[in-house]
Subunit: 214 residues, 2 copies
């Protein structure tokens, strides 16, 4: 059965990215994601040769193998689109949550970009409908993550924790609230890999009114 | 050789405690620490019978066995003192960092409370001098943790991550910055147990001036 997985890399203090696209934002991006770039599995998904075979590489490959469609935010799309190229690393439909609708873009290798203007729930539903037995990945940014948690749409949280405390940047969870159950914890060379089943999420800032998912 | 260990329990979003001592503060305290109270090893340290033998209990016991003197903040001391009783769970010298000096208090079972008024560095030095081959634990609160990290006094960070996202409360790390290396990651029933060697800490808010420890 298709699960909706919130999957992101964060620092040990829960930072998912920089505040801005300047040099410090780039340093934060590198600190959180730098461990991933040398991995054989990651390079393979990017269409590159070589790379390190390691616990991190195998963890990354195992996760990626489960993933079908992805949901991403507009900022992430605008930032990534020029880099993802004509044969993007998704190899599956990507649903971009945006206020500005536009026509679907088809790419090589199974990737397409569809633009969803009627909210996170609709975006997740469209991704689910295209999943064909695979899981749906909510890949970022932080706004997508927090909206999906608040709406009770997340089945699993998959975190890669980079070994750094940043003390600045954008926290992944913000005011989100959730009760979880850890189902996977593996120490890699570059990151700790944690997977949590989501048991209950509560609307942000209203701890007194728990709302069961499922 | 004696190491200085910052050891605390936090939520997955890095919250170490509540903002206040009201009902919500208590709920946060329970969410972060509730997994610990049924453990056999924890109950034993508290002078209580029974409890669960589990991965969490063994992890807690292994950590506790390494610990000699502890350094705690004044707020934590004032909050805990009435509960810790005549035979407190520390069984070692405790150094309380405070602005209000007072005479040393001796208790049964090896615990004593000494009050240090000349800063975190002096408190850690006094604890080190009393360690007798064991490690020094910085047990909280958040202010002790952040002061010690900023001063480059921490050798290892030992976190128990409770399976909850709180979305409110006091973050452990605040503006702290550090480069780490994970040396231990174990999935327990109630918490994930992570240990990190501290490689470099940087003064908070000044990322451009790294300062090597050691």
């Amino acid at each position: 059965m298709t699960k909706v997985i919130l999957g992101m890399s964060v620092s040990l203090d829960g930072i998912a990215g920089g505040q801005s696209a300047d040099a410090d934002g780039w340093a934060i991006h590198q600190a959180i994601l730098g461990w991933q770039f040398p991995l054989r599995s990651w390079r393979q998904a990017m269409g590159q040769e070589g790379g390190e075979d390691s616990v991190d590489s195998r963890e990354w490959a195992d996760s990626f193998a489960r993933i079908g469609p992805q949901v991403v935010g507009r900022t992430m799309f605008d930032f990534g689109y020029p880099h993802w190229g004509e044969n993007p690393p998704f190899h599956a439909p990507v649903f971009v949550l945006t206020h500005r609708g536009q026509d679907r873009i088809g790419k090589e290798g199974g990737t397409s970009y569809s633009f969803v203007t009627d909210g996170i729930k609709a975006a997740v539903e469209q991704a689910r409908a295209a999943a064909d037995g695979k899981d749906v990945l909510l890949a970022g940014g932080v706004s997508i993550a927090q909206q999906a948690l608040a709406a009770g749409l997340v089945d699993e949280i998959s975190l890669r924790i980079a070994p750094v405390v940043l003390g600045r940047g954008v926290p992944l969870f913000g005011a989100s609230q959730a009760d979880l159950r850890c189902v996977h914890a593996v120490q890699g060379e570059g990151a700790v890999h944690l997977r949590y089943e989501v048991r209950i999420t509560r609307p942000a800032w209203s701890a007194k009114v728990p709302a069961a998912i499922a």
